[in-house]
Assembly symmetry: C2
Homo-oligomer: 286 residues x 2
Amino acid sequence: MKTYLDCLPCFLSQALKTGRIATTDEKTQREILDQVMEKLISLPLDASPPGIAQLVYGTVKTITSNEDPYAAIKKTQNELALSFYPEFKKMTQESEDPLLFAIKLAIAGNIIDLGVQREIKDIKKEILETLAAPVAVNNYAAFKNTAMNSGLILYLGDNTGEIVFDRILVEELKKMDAKRIVFAVRGKPIINDVTIEDAKFVGMDKIVEIIANGSDAPATILSDCSSTFIELFQKADMIIAKGQGNYESLSDEIKNIFFLLKAKCPIVADHLNVNVGDSILKEQSR
Amino acid sequence: MKTYLDCLPCFLSQALKTGRIATTDEKTQREILDQVMEKLISLPLDASPPGIAQLVYGTVKTITSNEDPYAAIKKTQNELALSFYPEFKKMTQESEDPLLFAIKLAIAGNIIDLGVQREIKDIKKEILETLAAPVAVNNYAAFKNTAMNSGLILYLGDNTGEIVFDRILVEELKKMDAKRIVFAVRGKPIINDVTIEDAKFVGMDKIVEIIANGSDAPATILSDCSSTFIELFQKADMIIAKGQGNYESLSDEIKNIFFLLKAKCPIVADHLNVNVGDSILKEQSR
């Protein structure tokens, strides 16, 4: 998916939001906006939005010398989501179709995204609302069939907090026949995206292999990933890609991918032909 | 009111929105964003937001050679609002306090604003909702008292469509003792702000004097207005200022001003210490 003109004002908003988390100095915040605008002027938009976001967030990091502005927030999100784990795990186990329930839960967890504009006031309430709503694009039969017939499943994580709900889905996937499941995280801190530290914090490393993709984009931009990761990506029989960033960066990839996300911005929603707020379980058409 | 950092991404969104109305050529739309960013970089933010908006919209005008991108939309808004006139006029006349009702109606009409991000789907429905809601800042007693004791009232209009509801309020003001009421409009087309043409289209010129302020800012920036207008502004016993733009540009002015508006963006809402969506009838403290 390419970058749209609508993304430019949004990048500026994201830079300001992150700048304010990284520093309270208004002059530095202004410097961030000015430098981001300088970089955006004349910039080709054929990269995917997270490709440009990487440049935008990189600017914030460089100017503020803060490599991980969201560190404290990420910890809080993981802790909060972990506190919900027992209740949602029980709901999954007691549901009619635990795999389907876990998928819906993993999609619902995708509301915990600090790269988008909307603020979430009550995470648990919103998750319950998403669970109650229908899935707008629902390729569940294909998902289940593919998961049952895959030797290697690569699960691309997205955000902190959300990763706890991913764990519940990974636990359901482990009951199936895959010989190997690998959970991938970003290579370095970027927004509230998951890193190795988060995967360990929520115990993902205790149940499956974990791997860092080697990139600090809020997405899976293959050309920016490590060779080890790319090799794994190519070998995988099934890719489960969480969130908008992974969708934006992989929507043109020819591969057996299932995108699980909440459509959170109008541009991604348009690209998926759904409404903002919709839950998506979309099989990549090859 | 000064310009905040949050206004910068918003200016970019407004430039894109207007660029898309002015031209369907995506390269030109991109050129608009690039030139606006170039102008915003390092720009001092001590001007009020509409002062910078004037620069932003001026860029769109220059690049597209389209002096009035909103011309067709403004006509539609006036026609639509005029079709509501008989019903709302009757409601005003039958209300317990026609002046108060007309004020609330004039505030409600302020939702018809294309400079803000939110789209209005059903204008009549939203107006009825605003009429039913309480006024968050309500200096009605002072307004009525001042209107009763003013020889010259200067009413600063804001948007097309909205001007029909302003007419109903002006008709109520005419029943009071003011010797002279003047309705002011912008000097040139800017967004969907009212000009002389709109005032005539809704018959405002038939009931009171009308004057163009000489400026093409979406506001009343006195330093940019004609000397005739400034003189009138200084002489007026009471200023009625409609909308966010007039508030942003006159909030620091030492003058007998009553601001009537809907708070439509978080920055203006914060400045007024109210919530987005609130109705405001605020007396300027002198």
